[in-house]
């Protein structure tokens, strides 16, 4: 199934850094995303859109994961010529990952 079936997300930006946080609807699914939604899985979905390092932070009390992506926004909201310079749509791309 798609991650979207069990989780929701939001992406934000600071300069060239994008963060995409993901939370499960059912806390019982938290272990599953910890195991399956690895940095490698997110890299597979976001390369080469995201060029820099991707770091994952676990948020066990919130049943969520936060992915911090460097060099992700082609210069950031004020510099990028992308259609979506904030990377607001990144939250939808992560939910397309198969789990």
């Amino acid at each position: 199934m798609k991650l979207r079936d069990i989780a929701y997300s939001r992406s934000g930006d600071k300069g060239e850094v994008s963060n995409v946080c993901v939370f499960v609807y059912d806390p019982a699914d938290y272990r599953r995303i910890v195991e399956e939604l690895t940095v490698e899985a997110v890299e597979a979905a976001f390369r080469p859109l995201v060029k820099g390092e991707i770091v994952r932070y676990e948020m066990p009390t919130l049943h969520g994961l936060n992915f911090v992506m460097q060099d992700a926004l082609a210069g950031g909201v004020s510099m990028s010529l992308r259609v979506d310079p904030h990377g607001k749509s990144f939250q939808s791309l992560v939910l397309d990952i198969e789990v």
């Binding site: 979207r4 079936d5 929701y8 997300s9 939001r10 934000g12 930006d13 600071k14 300069g15 060239e16 850094v17 963060n19 946080c21 939370f23 609807y25 979905a45 976001f46 080469p48 859109l49 932070y57 948020m59 009390t61 919130l62 969520g64 936060n66 911090v68 210069g75 950031g76 909201v77 004020s78 510099m79 010529l81 992308r82 259609v83 979506d84 607001k88 749509s89 791309l93 397309d96």
Partner: protein
Amino acid sequence: MNDIVKIGCGSAYASDWLEPAKALADSGLVDYLAFDCLAERTLALAQIRKLADPSTGQDLRLARIMEDFAGFLGSNRTIVGNFGAANPDAAAADVVAGARKAGLDGLRVGVIRGDDVLKQVLDLDVALPERGVTAGQVRDRIVSAHAYIGAEPVVELLGEGARFVLGGRIADPSLFVGPICHELGWDLDDWASVGVATVAGHLLECGIHVTGANFADPPLRVLPALHDLAAPFAQVTSDRRVIVGKLDGTGGGVTEATVKTQLGYEVNDPAAYLTPDVTADFSALQVREIGPDRVEVTGAGGQAAPERLKVLVGLDLGFDVVGEVSYGGPGCVERARLAADVMRERFAPFAEGIDELRVDLLGVDALFEGRLQRGYPAEVRLRLAVRCADCDTATAVAEHVEFLYFAVAGGGGVTKSMRPAIGVTPAYLDRDTVRLETEVVTA
């Protein structure tokens, strides 16, 4: 000193819609409203306005705000905001004028100056790490430099009886941290408490983001009346609980999910959320729905504030020209790609003045650069974005965009735009190089 403080969000950026905040002000549910007026680029644009006219550079909504929120201020309630943008004194003058017009004579207006650090950035030739240069190397391109400043001057002014506090680049959460710490008597070096206040500020600073904006995804996530999203408020208690809510009868919702998504928004390491006030710790938060549209957040912590202050440096990057055209039916993708190639040839004579040319096919690869593929589209829109080093190049490029009607078959709906390209990039300054001053003026 109180056991509870009630604070709401008035605005989340410079052109935010004010109706939800007005409804919250009129409800009597909050004693403070904090207005964030500055997105990353807003201050650089405000400095450019100020260059053209030294009497401006402040938030442009103050006359209206003083009318709409006169009743709120008149009932002994308080507004805090970074309305100053590039010109805090001009903002204070607007507030004083608006107060007198509204019959609020005697209103004490607190002004914070000193976030404008252009001189320090140039004198110290600070590094611009995301650009790989120092400030001195791009001196002629720098249009602004503002340090993110914290809650300390806000608390000081509230202590002096100011009921309208404004400054320039007061950090978004600090607009809330100031009133919360002032009311609850929390010391600004009580890091755990400042961490709690910062969680409240982070939840409220984006306004409707915590009441259902940027959230709905049917059929999985749906909230009622999305056209009428509420301005949020929080009650923060002396035993370090944060309860987020919204006005009854408004749209959207305050749920465990809306709160969690905002908690994670624009956060890097959840154990070290950096603000001018504190290194806040969001890593052990508990989120609990305690009633309809009421969510309690507990468990925030904090460590000492970062030693250096973040600065955003505004850079003049020239001009951006964007042209678009639509194609449909069989072969639309191939025609769009050919048209892009044709346009590159048309632009070739100006190549020296073109710093970057970006081609997107909206509907195909614009958002994810080809990471998602979903079959052949019924129609596409070609978008050419051109960063030009100077106005003459941009003007020439914009003229040629019209050729999108003729490059290949069936191109319709050409649009074009041209605007100055102003970028912002981070830098860092030691705290002792940023000298703030405060003053109370009376309407």
